[in-house]
Structures are given as structure tokens and as C-alpha cells.
Subunit: 281 residues, 2 copies
Amino acid sequence: MDHRAQAIGVFDSGVGGLTVLRALRDELPHEQFVYLGDTARLPYGTKSAESVVRYALQAAAALIVRRVKALIVACNTASAVALPALRARHADLPVIGVVDPGADAAVAATRSGCIAVIGTEATVRGGAYQRAIAQRRPDAEVRALACQLFVALAEEGWTSGAVAEATAQRYLGPLLLPHWAAGAADTLVLGCTHFPVLRAVIREVVGERVTIVDSAVTTARAAHALLRERQLLRAPAMSPGATALAAMSFLATDNSERFAAIGARFLGSAIGAHQVALIDL
Amino acid sequence: MDHRAQAIGVFDSGVGGLTVLRALRDELPHEQFVYLGDTARLPYGTKSAESVVRYALQAAAALIVRRVKALIVACNTASAVALPALRARHADLPVIGVVDPGADAAVAATRSGCIAVIGTEATVRGGAYQRAIAQRRPDAEVRALACQLFVALAEEGWTSGAVAEATAQRYLGPLLLPHWAAGAADTLVLGCTHFPVLRAVIREVVGERVTIVDSAVTTARAAHALLRERQLLRAPAMSPGATALAAMSFLATDNSERFAAIGARFLGSAIGAHQVALIDL
């Protein structure tokens, strides 16, 4: 059979990965997508590495039985800790995480070599961004900070206003102070898929001098490149020719109403609760 | 055997219920406690009712095999949706939730009959506080508001400062405006076990005129009364005579380090990670 016609599987702990799906749709308009949000067990960001690896393998299996041709791990926590296990289990499948593309973009952007990374507790504790950046530029100075409240702000939809501003100031003010060995940070990696919706308020605090790396966009480009290399890109003629939303299907492990309501904020377009199928992992 | 010597089981989705355990220790200093935090599946507050009932039954079973003489459901979400199922499954065991004691205290405190309740999304959506208050005072006007960001603030330890103040103002300012049919709210129920650690900043916003009902304290009193009635109170002579912490043991379903670190804030005393046993549910 022609693998090119198959859908791309995208998986996240919840709705945050919909920012990655949005970037994938923009980058790959002819593709179809199956998005799985493990809403019954979110957030991964405060779970142990062992649990996250187990959850990621279960989510991948659920997408693979739905015949996906590639797997995008749109969750920083899972990308940070579960990618080796996923690739070992599914050696035949292209598996793309968000950490490597984010590290590539950060190293390309920085001039001073001082890179700040913000993410969940698990992503920061796991050190995957720190390692990925050090591999690419060993002399880089990387500081990572867990910003759990950004997750809650994004889910609440409080992406501007006094609370968002005070939160951004409290997290990022000290992080970006010019006390770095090599000068000052000139690059900030949004190492959590929830954070792009807070981009404007983050920009206000960090100023124009700092490049903000959104790994959703860089991951979509990496996925495009890998699918082309493996000759797995869907031809435009295979396109269903329907609306963008018709090319996406959604799976959640709990609370499809909340998935649809909150998810729309991250996807940038409405999702009907009836479009979200509940599955058990 | 003498059931009085058995421990009291306390269960929550995570560490928030430690505010209830703290109140229980103060109220019942001769008792022993086994606390179970279902940290692998927290938060319950954004999960569906079906999932929360299933989790609560599993947690209760884990405590019952550890021979507890009573079960305190120290989680508002689980109290709101899972109490009937728990009592049906374990008819012989005293089961106490936090909602009924909170409703009792609110009805005792209010003069205007206007009661505001704040909690998680699931607690508010489930309407258990609203129903419990209406049963006790049918003419009461109850308004409930989900305050998810308070949970994140409590876990981050940001219990004072600009972010906590702006968040409390944004949630509680509109809620407590004098647009209530019967005048103005004079009672605020902290319908989530995370919220007592934010009491000072909540007090600043609501002013001295509003009575704050902390269901941890009222639940501890209700537990005391029920145990006395069932003749299940441990006699002082049975007391281990050791430190308060020795009379408590802790179980978690994931990430015992985080349980110990964050939990200390809610319990009000240090917890060693080695004191927290990991179990599977």
C-alpha cells in the first residue's frame, strides 16, 4: 500500500500540543492528522520519567493501530524523556520530538551563546534541552527554569492582563538579568507547547533584543524535511480538498468537552466536542 | 480485634489534602493516619466524573487493605462526585467527605444567605456544594466559581506577592460585587484543599466583612464527632507517644520526591521523601 496517503500521528499529554498541530497544518497543508491528547493523565510535566515513558509508549501504540505513517511527539516532557524508548520500540516509524528542533533553532539564533529555556518541571529536571544545546554548541551557557504557572494561565485563557504580566515578570525578570558568564541571554526557548499562546506577554517582558524560539514552528519544519527525505509526503492530488478541520481527527483519554473548549484556544480554530473521540489507553 | 487502634485513612488526588490531614492531627492528636495522594493521576479537578469515581474506589480499596477504621475523602472533587459510590461499596466503613462539613459551616456563618464557593472546575461543574447548601438552607443564593490558577499558585508556593494578589483580585473581585439578589455575599467557602495556603491573600481581597470557611477544619471536627458516635476514637493510652510525624504514613502513586517537597507546604511540617511509599492503583 502507499504509505504516503496515511495520516500523521501527533501526541501530547493534553491540549498544549495543538499549537504544534496548528504549525503542522500550516507547514503541511495536504496532510491528514490524528491528534491524541492523554487528558486522563495530564499533566506529564510533574510526573516521574518512568511514568512518562510508559504513557508515551501507550499513546504511540494507540496511534500506530490507527495506521499513522509518522509520529510527532508534541509534548516537551515526553520528547525530553521518552524519545529513545519510542524509537527503540518503533524503529520503522519516523518519530520526531520537539526538543531537537527547538535546540537547532536556539543555536541558530543565539549570538552571545547564552540561551534561556523555560518549560515544565519535568522538562527542566530532565535536562534534555540543556544536553541537546550542548551537543550542538558546547560553549553555550544554558539556564533552564520551570514555569508551571504559565501552563495554568494558558489553560485558563489568561494570556494578557495583570496576572499574566506579573507572572512573566516574576519568572523571566531574574532569569534574563545580565548575570551570565558570557554577557546576557539573547535567546529564549519556549520549551512547553502551552507557552506560545503567552508569546505577547513574554515578549513584553523580555524586550525586542531577545529571540523567542517557538518549537512548534521549528518542529513542523523538521517533520516536513524528514517526511520528504523518507518519501512519505502526501501528494497534493491525494488531498481530501475539504476544510482544514476535516483533515484532523482528535482522540482524548478523558473529558472531550474540556478538550474541545480549551483546545480551540491552542489550535486557533473551533473544535466540536463531537469531533473528539474518547479512548482508553 | 479492637478497631479503635486502627489508623484513619485519608485520601486526596495529590498533596492538597494534607491541609485536611493537618487539621485532623490538630483535632485528633491520639490517632494514627495513612495518607494516600494519587499523584500519578492528579489533578482530579479537570477530569470527568466517571474517571474520578473510578479513581476514588481504587484509592479507597488501597487504604482498606491497610486496615483503616475510617475513610476521609480530603479531595473536594472526589467528595463532590464519588461519595455515594464509596459509601455503597463500603457500607460498614465511616466515610467522610469535605463538602457536607463545608456546607454546614457556610450555612452556620451566613447572615445574608449569599454564599460564594470557589473550587476546581470539576467541583463547581458537579454542583455538590450548591446542592448541599440548598438542602440546608433552600433560600440561600449560592454562586460557585472555578479558580484553577489558585491550585497552580499553591503548588508553586506563590502564596503572596503581585501574582497571587492579581489572581485573587481577578477571580474574587467580580464574584463578590454586591450584585446578589439578597444583598452581598458574606461567606466564602474554600472548596478546594489547596486554597487554605492562600488564605491571607484571599482575606486581603474579600475584606474582614466576609467569613472564610475552610473545610479542612470543619471536616476534622465532623470526623471527630462521627468517630465518637461510632465508638471508634483511639484512647489516649493507645497513643504511640512519638512525634506527630511518626503517627502519619504517606503513600503516593508517583513522584515521591515532589510529594515530599510540595507536600510540606500544605502539611506545615517537613516530609522526607523516604517517608513516602510509592504504590500502584
